[in-house]
Subunit: 223 residues, 2 copies
DNA sequence: ACGGATTTCCGTACAGTGCACGGAAAGGCT
DNA sequence: AGCCTTTCCGTGCACTGTACGGAAATCCGT
C-alpha cells in the first residue's frame, strides 16, 4: 500500500475529539446499561472509541466521572412551569426525582457515597428551600424539612431499586414476602398486609406523612 | 534444623481455625478501619492470619461477607428494656440506629446497595411494625410509616457521613458552606441560616416532623 | 517559514482486585 | 489399613485504576 495523502487519513485530530460533556454523557449511558459495578474507565473509553488514558485529560479520576454523571442526571428533573401551592409543588418535584432515580437505578447508591455539591444539585435544593420558605418555614426547621424530604426520597428509592434488582420476578417476590412474613406473628402479619409491592402508593403515603408533619408545624407557627 | 516432633508444630489443625463468626467479626473491624473502598478479601484474610482462599470455605463471595457484616452491626442496636409511649420508643430506637451508623460509617452506603433481609434487620423492622401497630396504625399506612422512618434514618446518616468524610475540618466546613450559600439570594440565605453543622438537632427536628405526620394520621383515624 | 511550546491522544506497565481450580494434609469412618 | 470428608491455601487469570512517558498535531512568536 503506497504511502500517499490519498490513503493516509488525517492522522491526528485538529480539534479535541473528546470533551467533558461527551464523557459524562457516555458515562450515564454506561451506568444505565451496566450499573455501578460494571462501570469501568476502560469500558467507558471503549464506548467513546478512545484510549483509556485519554479520558484523564478531561477528568482527574473515576470518582470525578461519577460525580459529574450524578449531577448530570439530577439536571434531568424539570423545573416546574409555574409554582402552585407548596404541597403540590413538592409532591410533583419529588415524584419526578423518584422517576429519574428509577430510570437511573445507580443514582441512590451513589448519593449515599458522596456529598451533593454539583451545580444541578445545589439548584435543586434551592428550589426546595424557596418553596418551603414561601410556605412560611424558616431557620433550623426549614433546613430540617428540606433534609428530611431529600433523605426520604433517596432512602425510599434506594430500597425500591434493590428490591427490584433482587426479586425481578413476581414469583420470587411472593416467596421473599412470605419468608419475611413468617417472622411476624399472626396479628402483626394481618395488620401489615399489603397486597402486592405497591411502591407508587407507598411512596405517596410516606411523602404525605412528612408533608402533614410540615403542615402541622406551619399551623402551629401561624397561631 | 532437625526435623523432629519437637520443632515441628502440630502442622495441621484438628479443629477449624476459621468460622463464619470470626470472619464477620474481622470484616466489621476491617470496614471500620478502612472503609468499604479499602475492604478486600486479601486484607480480611491477612487480618485473620489465614490464606485468602480459606475464607471461601465459609462464604460464597465478598458480597456475602458484606451482607453478613451489615446484619451483624444492625444487631448492635439494643432492644428497649421496656416499651414506653410509641413516640419515645421510636425516637430512642432511631437515635440508636443513627449512633450505630456513625460508629460504622460504611453502613448507610451498603444499605443503599442491597435489600435488608438478614435476621437482625427483620427483627428490627418487626419492632417498628409492632410499635406503630400498637399505636393504632394498620394496612398500607402502617407499612408506609415504617418505610418512611427507616428511609429517613438511612438517608440522613448517609448524608451526614459523606459530609464528615469530605470536610473533616471546621475551616473546610465554613468554606463549603459559604460557597453553597453563595448560590442563594440574600433573603433565602437569611432564612435558611443554621449556625454550625448541628446534625443532632437537625436529626431530631426531621424525625419530629415525620412523627407529627404519623400522629396526625392517628388522630384522624380516632375520629 | 521555522522552531519551540502546548495540547491531545494513548500504549505500556504496575500494583492491586475477586475468585476458579486443584492439590495437600488431617481426622474420622468402616 | 483404606477411604472420605473437611479444612486450608498456592497459583493463576481476567480485570481494575491510573502513573509515566512518548508521539503527533496545532498554535504562537519571531
Amino acid at each position: 500500500m503506497p504511502e500517499t495523502i490519498w490513503f493516509r487519513e488525517d492522522a491526528r485530530p485538529r480539534r479535541p475529539r473528546l470533551s467533558r460533556e461527551r464523557i459524562v454523557e457516555a458515562a450515564v449511558a454506561l451506568l444505565d446499561a451496566e450499573g455501578v459495578a460494571g462501570f469501568s474507565m476502560r469500558a467507558l473509553a471503549a464506548r467513546l472509541g478512545a484510549g483509556t488514558m485519554s479520558l484523564y485529560e478531561y477528568v482527574q479520576s473515576k470518582e470525578d466521572v461519577l460525580d459529574l454523571a450524578l449531577d448530570e442526571v439530577i439536571g434531568e428533573i424539570e423545573a416546574p412551569g409555574e409554582a402552585g401551592p407548596w404541597r403540590d409543588f413538592l409532591t410533583a418535584q419529588l415524584t419526578q426525582s423518584r422517576a429519574v432515580m428509577r430510570r437511573h437505578p445507580w443514582v441512590p447508591a451513589l448519593t449515599a457515597t458522596r456529598p451533593l455539591l454539583g451545580p444541578q444539585a445545589v439548584a435543586r435544593s434551592r428550589l426546595f428551600y424557596s418553596a418551603l420558605a414561601g410556605a412560611g418555614l424558616e431557620g433550623p426547621v426549614l433546613t430540617a424539612a428540606v433534609g428530611t424530604l431529600t433523605s426520604y426520597v433517596n432512602g425510599f428509592v434506594a430500597a425500591e431499586n434493590t428490591w427490584w434488582q433482587k426479586v425481578r420476578t413476581p414469583a420470587a417476590d411472593a416467596e421473599i414476602r412470605a419468608k419475611v412474613a413468617g417472622h411476624l406473628d399472626g396479628e402483626l402479619a394481618r395488620l401489615s398486609q399489603v397486597e402486592d409491592a405497591d411502591f407508587d402508593g407507598q411512596f405517596l403515603l410516606g411523602l404525605g406523612l412528612i408533608l402533614d408533619g410540615i403542615e402541622a408545624r406551619l399551623a402551629g407557627a401561624g397561631r
